[in-house]
């Protein structure tokens, strides 16, 4: 077995342990053996498990764990992908304006769209919003803020995010009947995550993450800059487009089901880089695995720390993420100067 395979198996094991913990921990105690037996038999109730316990697993904890895992994988993978194609260690779905764009798109869909088709219109509008957000941030960072430095892209992203969020707030004010619905979702919610959310997120996240996983080796080539990458025969423009579209699709899916959960795209890829080195052939797969595990565990803390109340998960990730952002900023200091 190669070193790479062993590391990958370790990553899968970490994810499985997180899933199991997510299923076990909560106000109703469930024996680990029972939960494991239930999981590996695809929902057959072991003899020691009550009907109520089985229902809690099937209807509450499992969908929540799945949605948390999908959202974590999507945000981490798209963070790593944005960082690669913009050659910018600070790039993240939130700082780039992708999430704000997705938020605005989803709000527009909720406020003006037909209520019967939310399952389709919300993710679609979120996707278009995410693409528009990244496009604006990239264009603004390059044209008006003078150059390709790490900070100019992020400043562009922050400007775009503030603007889009303002528009979103305005729409909410105009449509106060949908305010509650949108507001609860903006804070970042996994509390109500159910199978509907999983169904909405699965196709986009799987397509996007699979695409990013497949092109991971080419992401290393962009590291030497557009000119040299082109001289090595890479179609940089096309790759950047594919990656931005995939990452924005993943971001939009995450925002559609879980609202705004920040910093995951910074925390996870940077931690992975410390563990596996900087090559995207490792960074991307491990960002997917650890990203899923990370958000499942953070959600576990969010729902148990002050039980029966819940801490909004976005608050927790921001709490963890701000120091990481400072770390990333310091590491990239030389390039910014």
């Amino acid at each position: 077995m190669t070193r790479g395979t062993r590391a990958l198996l370790l990553g899968v094991a970490v994810l499985l342990v997180s899933v199991l913990l997510g299923l076990l921990v909560g106000p109703v105690r469930i024996a680990p053996g029972d939960a494991l037996g239930w999981l590996v038999s695809f929902g057959h109730r072991p003899s020691g498990m009550s009907l109520q316990q089985a229902a809690i697993l099937a209807d509450l904890r499992l969908p929540r764990v799945i949605v948390a895992g999908l959202v974590g994988a999507a945000l981490s993978a798209s963070g790593a992908a944005y960082q690669a194609v913009f050659r910018n260690p600070l790039a993240d779905p939130y700082l780039l304006g992708a999430a704000a764009g997705a938020g605005l798109g989803a709000t527009v869909a909720v406020a003006f769209g037909p209520a019967t088709a939310f399952e389709i219109t919300v993710p679609l509008a979120a996707f278009l919003g995410a693409l528009a957000g990244v496009g604006l941030a990239y264009g603004l960072g390059r044209s008006s803020l003078g150059g390709r430095s790490a900070t100019s892209l992020i400043l562009g992203g922050i400007a775009v995010a503030s603007f889009l969020t303002a528009v979103q707030t305005f729409i909410q004010q105009q449509r106060s009947e949908t305010l509650r619905q949108v507001y609860s979702w903006i804070l970042g919610r996994l509390g109500t995550a159910g199978w509907d959310d999983a169904r909405v997120a699965v196709p986009s996240v799987v397509i996007a993450v699979a695409t990013l996983w497949l092109v991971r080796r080419l992401l290393d080539v962009i590291e030497v800059g557009d000119l040299e990458a082109e001289s090595l025969g890479l179609n940089v423009g096309r790759l950047r487009l594919v990656v931005v579209v995939a990452a924005s699709l993943a971001t939009a899916a995450a925002v559609s089901v879980a609202g705004l959960i920040g910093f995951v795209g910074i925390i996870v890829p940077h931690t992975v880089r410390l563990l596996t080195g900087t090559s995207y052939r490792r960074v991307l797969p491990f960002s997917v695995l650890f990203g899923a595990a990370f958000l499942i565990l953070v959600d576990l803390v969010a729902r148990t720390a002050i039980a029966p109340a819940e801490i909004p998960i976005g608050v927790l990730t921001a709490f963890l993420g701000a120091p990481f952002f400072v770390l990333a900023l310091r590491r990239s200091g030389r390039r910014i100067a």
Binding site: L218, V221, L227, E230, G233, S279
Partner: protein, 262 residues
């Protein structure tokens, strides 16, 4: 193939925002030779190399072993032409081995999976440039000379018959300058490479290259052998430098600045 010119330029021109960068550039690079483009700052040397590498649009005709370069697709072109830029981007944290393996990019499948041939090419390049010991080192821990060898190793792993070197000795001390140029010369002989380079140091250029192009304000003002191009009067005219060209049997050939007036 060897009787053909490796590279043939005619009527190459380029304008950026209405400003003329190159005009009527025409010369040949014989297969297996080392041709050096010299000229003052801003003469268009780097732009010319980028045009040959297909990285910037241009007018005119560039042929690679008789085939118009525009007819090659990007990857096909990258299998034939390797570029060593003047200031290569050094990705933070990347290992030497991974960096050299990027040279295999034009040979890989769509998704960039490597085969045995690719791993062998990377090993060979690392070994040839004495970097096998450094394969797991991070690029940003290497010295300037080692780094330049890593960049050359990447170009060698690319297995392209035409090597474009943009100021390959920038930032190196005299000893390392000579080392790098001698290395390029050895690689050229061993692998039958054709080299087109730019160089500021006219003495080193004159000692290593066998064909010369003097570029001034985007135009080729002299092409040919050393004696025709690296001439004191031409250097005075285009570099504004007062020099004497010496061919001392003991010291060798050199372009030496003359102090004071002529």
């Amino acid at each position: 193939m060897s009787d053909l010119d490796a590279l043939e330029l005619s009527g190459v021109g380029m304008n950026i925002d209405g400003r003329e960068i190159l005009r009527d550039v025409a010369f040949e690079v014989p297969s297996g030779s080392w041709t050096c483009v010299v000229g003052p700052n801003g003469a268009g040397k780097t732009t010319l190399l980028h045009a040959v590498a297909g990285l910037v649009p241009f007018e005119g005709d560039v042929r690679l072993w008789g085939v118009p370069i525009a007819s090659y697709r990007r990857r096909e072109r990258a299998r034939r032409i390797a570029l060593v830029p003047q200031q290569p981007v050094i990705p933070e944290g990347m290992t030497v081995e991974r960096y050299v393996s990027l040279g295999r990019t034009p040979h890989l499948g769509v998704l960039g999976a490597e085969g045995t041939a690719d791993l062998v090419a990377v090993d060979t390049a690392l070994g040839r440039l004495d970097l096998a010991w450094a394969r797991d080192r991070r690029l940003d821990t290497l010295s300037g000379g080692e780094l330049q060898r890593a960049v050359l190793a990447r170009a060698l792993a690319q297995e392209a018959p035409l090597l474009l070197l943009d100021e390959p000795t920038t930032g190196l001390d005299l000893g390392h300058q000579l080392q790098v140029l001698e290395l390029v010369n050895e690689l050229r002989r061993e692998h039958g490479l054709t080299v087109l380079s730019t160089m500021h140091d006219l003495t080193l250029a004159g000692r290593f290259a066998d064909g010369f192009v003097l570029l001034s304000q985007g135009r080729p003002v002299a092409t040919g052998a050393r004696g025709d191009v690296l001439d004191a009067a031409l250097i005075q005219e285009h570099f504004g430098a007062n020099v004497r060209v010496i061919g001392d049997p003991e010291v060798g050939w050199a372009v030496v600045p003359v102090s004071g007036g002529r």
